[in-house]
C-alpha cells in the first residue's frame, strides 16, 4: 500500500501576538484506500488540520507529502493545481452555485484542470450516475433536497478522480435519514478503494470509519 497523506512533524502556529499553536507537531500516515475520521470538539484544531491536509494552508513546521509530493516545496500556484487535481472537497454547506444545474455544478469541478470541454459533460454525467442522481441532471440547487445537494457536491468532488476525498462535516446540515444515505454513499466509495478523510464532531459518524483520529487542544491522537 502507498501512503496518500504523510505528516512528518507537521505543526501550524498562527502568528500572534500572542502566537497560537493551532496544531502541535504531529506524525500521521494515511494509506491509500483507508477511511479515516478526524473527531474533536469545536476549537480543537479540526479546521486547521483540514486546511493543511487540503493544501489550503501551509504548515509552519514539518513536512506534508501528498502522494509523495512535498507540499511545502511547491509554489502557491502549483499547490493550487495539486489541490485541484488530487483532492476532492465535500463541505458542510455544499457550496453549490445557485444559478447552475446539477450537471453544470459538477462540470465546474473540471474547469481548471484542462479537461476538454467536450469531455466534461460525459464525465459529469458519469459522476452523477455514480451518486444515483442521473435523473436530476437539470435541477437547480434550490429545487433539490439537502441530501441531493450533498450528493451533487460528492459527484463534483469525484469527477477529477482524486486520490483523496476530504469531507468537512458532510452530514452537519442534514437530518438523520438523509445523513444515513450520504454516509452509505461514502461507504460504497470506500468499498471501491477511495481514500476518505472525514472531519466531524459527531461520534456516530466517526464510528463508521476504519480509523479514528482525535484532536484535542491541537494535539493529534490515534484512537483506533
Amino acid at each position: 500500500m502507498t501512503a496518500v497523506i504523510e505528516f512528518d512533524a507537521v505543526g501550524r502556529t498562527y502568528p500572534g501576538p500572542p502566537p497560537v499553536a493551532a496544531l502541535h507537531p504531529a506524525d500521521l500516515v494515511v494509506e491509500s484506500g483507508q477511511y479515516v475520521a478526524v473527531v474533536g470538539p469545536s476549537g480543537s484544531g479540526k479546521s486547521t488540520f483540514l486546511n493543511l491536509v487540503g493544501l489550503l494552508d501551509v504548515p509552519s513546521t514539518g513536512h506534508y507529502r501528498l502522494d509523495g509530493i512535498d507540499a511545502g516545496e511547491l509554489s502557491e500556484n502549483h499547490r493550487a493545481a495539486l489541490r485541484g487535481r488530487r483532492i476532492g472537497f465535500v463541505f458542510q454547506a455544499f457550496h453549490l452555485l445557485p444559478h447552475r444545474t446539477a450537471l453544470e455544478n459538477v462540470m465546474l469541478g473540471m474547469l481548471y484542470q484542462g479537461v476538454p470541454r467536450a469531455e466534461r459533460q460525459d464525465r459529469a454525467l458519469a459522476a452523477l450516475t455514480e451518486v444515483r442522481l442521473a435523473h436530476r441532471l437539470l435541477a437547480l440547487p434550490s429545487q433539490m433536497s439537502g441530501g441531493e445537494r450533498q450528493r451533487v457536491a460528492v459527484a463534483r468532488a469525484l469527477v477529477n478522480e482524486p486520490s483523496l476525498l476530504l469531507c468537512d462535516e458532510p452530514t452537519g446540515n442534514l437530518d438523520t435519514v438523509t445523513a444515513e444515505a450520504v454516509l452509505e454513499l461514502f461507504h460504497g466509495l470506500h468499498a471501491r478503494g477511495m481514500t476518505l478523510v472525514m472531519v466531524t464532531h459527531n461520534d456516530d459518524v466517526a464510528e463508521r470509519a476504519d480509523r479514528i483520529v482525535t484532536i484535542r487542544d491541537g494535539r493529534l491522537e490515534e484512537r483506533r
Binding site: L56, E73, H78, A80, A81, G84, A93, H95, H99, R117
Partner: protein, 407 residues
C-alpha cells in the same frame, strides 16, 4: 523549479472558459447588471450625442455658406485721403488680379455720390430725388452676380469707350416708369442722358445695386471725374470655390507691390474655422459632463463588482479548491466588470446615435455622426469597466480559501 513541481500539471483556465464563466456571472443577475451598466450607458450616450450634435451643427453651418459668399474677396482702400495719396488701384488692376491662379474675374467699383435721376430731360429738378450712382467696371458687375430682369449688363466695350449707358435696379426702374427696354429708354442723371441697357431683378449679396444707377467706371470718370474723397475705391474679386483664402493672401502684393499695407483684403471666413470654433465651445462643456457621467458609471460598476466579490466569497473559495489560481479569480471578475462596461458602452452608443438622428430629424438637419466617434465609443465603456474592476478583482484574488469555505 522546486522538486516536485514537475509532478504537478499546472492549473489551466482557457480564454473560452474564462469568457463563459464571466458571462454567466454577469447574466445570473440580469436586473442588477442592467442597473449597473446604466451609468456607463448615460456617459457614453452623452459622449456620442455631444460629438454627434457638434458635427451635425457644424455641417449645418458650413452648408449655409453659399458658394457665392465663399468665393468673393473684397479689397478696400484704407487711405484717409485718396486725392492726396493717388488712386488706390493701378489702371491695369483687373489684369493683374486675373493673373493670380484661382481668380475667375475681378473689377473696380466705387460709390460716385448721389445725383438727380429723371426719365424726362426737362423735368423740374426741384421735385426729383437724388439716387446713388455706382461706378463699376464690367468685371465688378459680373462678379456681383446680379440677376438680369431685362436687357443685359454693360461690357468692356461700353467701358473702354466710355459709352453713356446705365443699369437700373428693378425698384428704381419701376419708380421711373421704365418697364421695357426695346424702346431704348434713357435716364437723365444730373441732366446727362444715359441709355438704360439692363434692369437688375435681384442681387443677393449686393442689394444696394437695386437702388442705384450703375454706370461703367470710365463713363463716370469722363462725366464726373475720378473718385473724390469720401468715395473710396473698392475692388471685388471672384475666385474659384475653395481658392478664396489663398487668392486673398496674394492680392495686396499683386496690386500695390509698393504699398501693400494701403489695401485691406477681406476674405470670406473659412467655414472650417468657424465650425471648429462652434465645436470647441460646445464640446468642452459637454465632454466634461460626459466624463462626469462616465466617472459615475465607473463608481457604479466598481461598487457592484465589489459587493459581488463579498457575496461570492464562498464561490471564490470553492474555485480555489478546484485548483484556480488567484490570477484566474482576478481575471474572471475583471472580465465581468469589463463586460458590464462594454454592454453599457454598446447601449449608450445606440442611444446616443439615435438621439442625434432624432434631434437632427426634428430640426430638419442632416445628421452627421463621425465614424471615429461612434466606433470607439463602446470601447470607452470597456475601459470604464476594466478600470472599475481593478480593485475588486485584486480583492477577489486575495480572498483566502480557508476563510471563504467556512462560511
Amino acid at each position: 523549479m522546486n522538486k516536485g513541481e514537475g509532478l504537478v500539471d499546472p492549473s489551466r483556465f482557457t480564454p473560452r472558459d474564462l469568457g463563459s464563466e464571466a458571462l454567466a456571472g454577469v447574466l445570473q443577475r440580469p436586473g442588477r447588471a442592467a442597473l449597473t451598466a446604466l451609468g456607463t450607458v448615460v456617459g457614453v450616450a452623452t459622449f456620442v450625442i455631444v460629438l454627434g450634435l457638434t458635427a451635425t451643427v457644424g455641417g449645418q453651418i458650413s452648408s449655409r455658406f453659399t458658394v457665392l459668399g465663399a468665393t468673393e474677396v473684397q479689397i478696400e482702400d484704407t487711405s484717409v485721403d485718396a486725392e492726396l495719396d493717388g488712386p488706390a488701384f493701378p489702371p491695369d488692376a483687373a489684369t493683374r488680379v486675373q493673373a493670380i491662379n484661382g481668380v475667375v474675374r475681378a473689377g473696380v467699383y466705387w460709390s460716385a455720390g448721389e445725383r438727380t435721376v429723371n426719365s424726362r430731360p426737362l423735368a423740374d429738378t426741384a421735385d426729383t430725388d437724388a439716387f446713388p450712382i455706382v461706378a463699376a467696371s464690367p468685371g465688378a458687375v459680373t462678379a456681383m452676380h446680379p440677376v438680369v430682369a431685362h436687357g443685359r449688363l454693360f461690357d468692356d466695350f461700353h467701358d473702354r469707350s466710355a459709352e453713356r449707358v446705365a443699369l437700373l435696379g428693378a425698384a428704381m426702374a419701376a419708380r421711373l416708369g421704365i418697364q421695357r427696354l426695346d424702346t431704348h429708354p434713357a435716364v437723365f442723371v444730373g441732366g446727362v442722358p444715359l441709355t438704360v441697357v439692363g434692369i437688375l431683378g435681384d442681387a443677393e449679396r449686393h442689394a444696394e445695386l437695386l437702388l442705384s444707377v450703375v454706370v461703367p467706371e470710365r463713363t463716370v470718370e469722363r462725366l464726373w471725374g475720378p473718385p473724390g474723397s469720401g468715395q473710396p475705391t473698392k475692388m471685388i474679386v471672384e475666385t474659384r470655390l475653395g481658392a478664396a483664402a489663398v487668392v486673398a493672401s496674394q492680392l495686396a502684393a499683386a496690386l500695390r507691390p509698393d504699398a501693400p499695407d494701403r489695401l485691406k483684403v477681406t476674405a470670406p471666413p473659412d467655414p472650417r474655422s468657424l465650425r471648429d470654433s462652434v465645436a470647441t465651445d460646445l464640446n468642452s462643456l459637454f465632454l466634461v459632463l460626459a466624463l462626469v457621467c462616465l466617472g459615475v458609471g465607473m463608481v457604479g460598476i466598481a461598487n457592484t463588482t465589489f459587493v459581488a466579490v463579498l457575496e461570492r466569497t464562498g464561490e471564490i473559495g470553492l474555485r480555489r479548491s478546484f485548483g484556480a489560481r488567484g490570477s484566474h479569480i482576478a481575471a474572471q471578475f475583471l472580465l465581468e466588470s469589463a463586460i458590464l462596461g462594454t454592454m453599457g458602452g454598446l447601449i449608450g452608443t445606440c442611444v446616443g446615435t439615435l438621439s442625434v438622428v432624432a434631434i437632427a430629424a426634428a430640426r430638419h438637419w442632416t445628421a452627421v455622426v463621425e465614424p471615429w466617434t461612434v466606433l470607439p465609443a463602446p470601447l470607452l465603456g470597456t475601459v470604464t469597466g476594466l478600470i472599475a474592476g481593478l480593485y475588486p478583482a485584486m480583492r477577489a484574488a486575495r480572498v483566502q480559501p480557508v476563510e471563504a469555505l467556512q462560511r
